[in-house]
């Protein structure tokens, strides 16, 4: 079961980071900046990838 969870979600850091990404996307869309979400999200994800790589 633990291995199944790990395959689907990764670890807690990965899960937390992706939750943050989706929350930021939803926030931008709700605030009327949907067209900026496509610019902000890739930058955020790349920064997160760099951070996760050092963990």
């Amino acid at each position: 079961m633990k291995a199944f969870f790990k395959t689907l979600f990764g670890d807690w850091l990965n899960l937390g980071f992706v939750t943050l990404v989706v929350a930021v996307e939803a926030g931008l869309v709700r605030a009327g900046y949907a067209h900026h979400a496509g610019e902000v999200t890739p930058l955020l994800i790349l920064a997160g990838v760099g951070w996760l790589a050092t963990r």
């Binding site: 395959t7 689907l8 990965n14 931008l28 869309v29 999200t41 790349l46 760099g50």
Partner: protein, 246 residues
């Protein structure tokens, strides 16, 4: 999204996973023979096929397209971010490269302590766990674009190639450039995840360039990931130098 995009992403991801699964089956075959270890692998593949068929059906039931798109996009982000981060860490030297030879030896050592039943279970579990990631990609990429046959075909093609090459060399497939493949697949999967989650939340207007945004995003994540790895590698070298001097 084109058939080729789905085929390539699924084929590359599946190749990496099947190579790892093959290494385990090969190690187990030395203990309980090819017939039984292949039987364990086939049983795991049957379970995965059943899961793929069942999940595809369940996900299509009663869910509106934008919810389905969001759920799948989130899973692709969960999967892709992990792969890309791992590829960056390995490229930067922060994490050891995956070594099939080492995996092979570790499995053999574990088998020496166990019985034949345990060996069968190791092969079954190995193929099932590696195959779970393939299942996730096949279901995710196949459902959204209604291209299940392409995704399933790509996963099966990868399985066929890895099995044939593996049976020919009868050794762990260590020449597969696993980290390079992980980089490309990670970038592609994160791209699909980014595109679908934003489109699900904000509608098609969120991507003014439409599907043309996809190659731009892949290039951004690929080049950005390589740049990130170079920065991390330099930082690591500087830290090591400072430690040496102090």
């Amino acid at each position: 999204m084109s058939d080729w995009g789905i085929f390539l992403a699924t084929f590359l991801a599946a190749t990496v996973e099947w190579v790892e699964a093959f290494t385990i089956v090969l190690a187990v075959s030395l203990t309980i023979g090819w017939a039984r270890s292949a039987g364990a692998a086939a049983t795991a593949l049957l379970v995965l096929a059943g899961m793929t068929a069942a999940t595809g059906g369940v996900l299509r039931l009663g869910l509106e397209m934008h919810w389905l798109q969001l759920i799948i996009g989130v899973f692709l982000l969960l999967f892709g971010v992990r792969w890309l981060a791992k590829a960056v860490a390995r490229q930067a030297g922060l994490k050891a490269m995956h070594d099939e030879e080492e995996e092979f030896e570790e499995t053999r050592e574990a088998l020496e302590k166990g019985d034949q039943h345990a060996a069968w279970l190791i092969a079954f579990k190995g193929v099932l766990l590696e195959g779970l990631e393939v299942w996730l990609i096949v279901v995710a990429l196949g459902i959204k674009a209604h291209h299940s046959a392409t995704a399933v075909g790509a996963a099966l093609a990868a399985l066929l190639v890895v099995t044939l090459v593996g049976l020919m060399v009868r050794a762990p497939l260590r020449r597969v450039p696993e980290n390079a493949i992980k980089f490309v697949v990670g970038a592609m999967i994160v791209t699909f995840g980014t595109f679908w989650t934003i489109e699900a939340l904000g509608g098609e207007a969120a991507w003014p360039l439409g599907d043309w945004s996809l190659p731009a995003l892949v290039a951004f994540y690929l080049l950005g990931g390589l740049g990130m790895a170079a920065i991390l590698r330099r930082r690591r070298a500087q830290a090591a130098l400072q430690e040496e001097l102090s």
